[in-house]
Assembly symmetry: C2
Homo-oligomer: 483 residues x 2
Amino acid sequence: MSETPDSAVHTADTRAVRTYIERHRSAFLGELAEWLRIPSVSAQPERAADVRRSAEWLAAALGRTGFPVVEIWETDGAPAVFAEWPSGEPDAPTVLVYGHHDVQPAAREDGWHTEPFEPVVADGRLYGRGAADDKGQVLFHTLGVRAHLAATGRTAPAVHLKMIVEGEEESGSPHFRALVEEHAARLAADVVIVSDTGMWSETTPTVCTGMRGVADCEIDLYGPDQDIHSGSFGGAVPNPVTVAGRIVAALHDSDERVAIPGFYDGVTELTDAERALMAELPFDENAWLTTARSHGTLGEAGFSTLERVWARPTAEVNGIGGGYQGPGGKTIVPATAHVKLSFRLVAGQDPARIETVVRTWLAEQVPAGIRHEIVFGAPTRPCLTPLDHPALTAVSGAMSRAFDGAKVRYTREGGSGPAADLQDVLDAPVLFLGISVPSDGWHAPNEKIELDLLMKGVETTAHLWGDLPAALRDTTRAEPLLT
Amino acid sequence: MSETPDSAVHTADTRAVRTYIERHRSAFLGELAEWLRIPSVSAQPERAADVRRSAEWLAAALGRTGFPVVEIWETDGAPAVFAEWPSGEPDAPTVLVYGHHDVQPAAREDGWHTEPFEPVVADGRLYGRGAADDKGQVLFHTLGVRAHLAATGRTAPAVHLKMIVEGEEESGSPHFRALVEEHAARLAADVVIVSDTGMWSETTPTVCTGMRGVADCEIDLYGPDQDIHSGSFGGAVPNPVTVAGRIVAALHDSDERVAIPGFYDGVTELTDAERALMAELPFDENAWLTTARSHGTLGEAGFSTLERVWARPTAEVNGIGGGYQGPGGKTIVPATAHVKLSFRLVAGQDPARIETVVRTWLAEQVPAGIRHEIVFGAPTRPCLTPLDHPALTAVSGAMSRAFDGAKVRYTREGGSGPAADLQDVLDAPVLFLGISVPSDGWHAPNEKIELDLLMKGVETTAHLWGDLPAALRDTTRAEPLLT
């Protein structure tokens, strides 16, 4: 077989890809169903052996796929799986695929129509915990790389292909960053492809180009040494719960913009082109509100709902407590109050700088007589790939081919994830290639994946591994990230 | 004996009063100690029999004192004691003394140096739970009326003397108002004397002229139907905890005045004379802060600390809760938030009107997409006796005689109490005659009463019952109250 770096040779023929996929679809689905039977619930300690069994199952599957290097990497928690398949060409770009093999808890009595760990195919869908999040989206890469090889006649992928599949994502990835730092050299890549997200809808293929980051803190406010009588002392001493309320109220101005001085410094603003692209998406605000289980919209003036959740930084109160919370009343000036805040961050915002401006601002909100403490958790940085990044162009091109030439649109993800650790430690751009759809029921009963879409994911990667070398040819290293 | 309404006959001679008291002091203290041995803790269900025994003990003691009518009044909780001693003169004013026979919980291990229910006399003080709050201050009326009779040579008091001594004050007087309403005709009085308060200090005799009222409410705020992901939805939907914070912040303006429109309508403002009298009191703000266990003062601009807690209405947050309050962070937009508020009220403020203005104001604070509910508890009205009220003049005059001619000053009480129920239902002015001092340790370990001050209380009432008829002679009924 030819292994010369000729794009004509790399690029897979659509018909050849589809033929290969059709022939192997049934066996692939059988393998996926087998994996879904392993209840790898990382949040349940009694499932630890199942999580390990899931890692071992995946390692074996990747070995059968042809990955010459497959390793189980231990962490202080559940094991991860690493696999590597070097390209025949030394100059080929390196791609690292990220996913996870652990799943959310599930029990029949939560409202499942079938046993969550006994996968069932019906109406073109595969039902079972982990079908979409994330086992289906991890495993399609095995059929994808085989289809890439078959359609191009190669014996090794056109890219240096690596996979890292962690086992604790549903538990907050507590050991993932340490794992990435420990193995940074082996994980090094030009592009990170995250397969743990979704598309806009069955009929609107999309690629996610970024996630917001997050910084969170807990503020403790101390007033009197104990709860004191509001009759004897009320109205004459500072009340820490009142101060907590004032802090919360001071977070935003009347335009719902974050009012902390310096908070917006450096923010990568949406371009007119990006806003126009977002506005083109068939967004139904009422449907979105139903999904949000919310009864109204409220956010930063001058931005649409999608812009607010995808591309604007926020300050959110996640919890508050102080004083008497039991039944009835209690006439006290409370001794303490506590506020939990989180800030979603977008490209251009540095979590360390956010911590500084929040600390400075907070100190100015607290009156004499109240002592305050503030503790920040470990932040997650935002990630954003510019719309003209060649790797993104390659991904959307490959997806468009899989979707019969449909226009691929760009989305973002409002949440934050361990992908940012890969971006940070490996200094590589992160692209989100997910083929799940909102109806797949992540974290919910009756999780499923649309089998036709799953095959589109296979097809996309079968094209992508062939297309990427040419796309990245002029860049020895991917663009610096906008963070 | 003469029973003519001649003030010369009524007025007791100071020497005669003191002679009588000295002769009976020891026996009186023996009786008080006997009562203090009954652990009448109303908050502890297992002490219910002791609370009843305490009522029976008091009824017997009042019978021995000479009250011709002594009854135990049942409530849906602990029993109260009622006693009545008609004056010989039908036109004599009627005085109702209020106190309570239940006590706070107490246990040696809380820090008592002696057994809390084994009273001990040391250094001129009587130690024991209830010594000051309120058994000592109830029982001094027995010796007081006997001294009044002895010193004036009367066989019945110069006033129609009634006593109502409840058994649930330390549990919030849950059945007191119903009791007063049930027996309103028998409790009818021209003046109510509450003996359940304190004086400024051992060396500054004072009479309390009013208590603040209180209205309280709980506000519930409902946002999304459940906690939702702050990454997916944060920044675009209203957050009920944010709204709770804004409500709390909106309670006050930058001068720490309550910012609810209409809140101050009708407030009886302090006169310059009242402010001057308050300013004369030897107030030590640092000592007050130590008592408050607080680390700073903060309150309505333009008023002193004493004015703020005694004579100004307030809005206080007693508790707040919403969202995640456990350890660490949780990136949610919470579904609900709850705020407990209480408003201290002063004369001129009507609790029903306060409820109306708070409801109106609240509705304006809540944005679309958030549903709110507000529930008010039963309010307690403020009470205030004008400084020129003849009964107040009589009380301060009698106290001055007991304190060797010392100037008697006026205080107020920032808290709220069941006295307001008496004021409301009986439409009578309430005067607070207490001889406890701040060091007596109400609700604390090692509660005590100063025996010399206790005897001053006896002496004050011995004079007061004689002085009141003349003081009230020109008023068929006491002045209308400033509420």
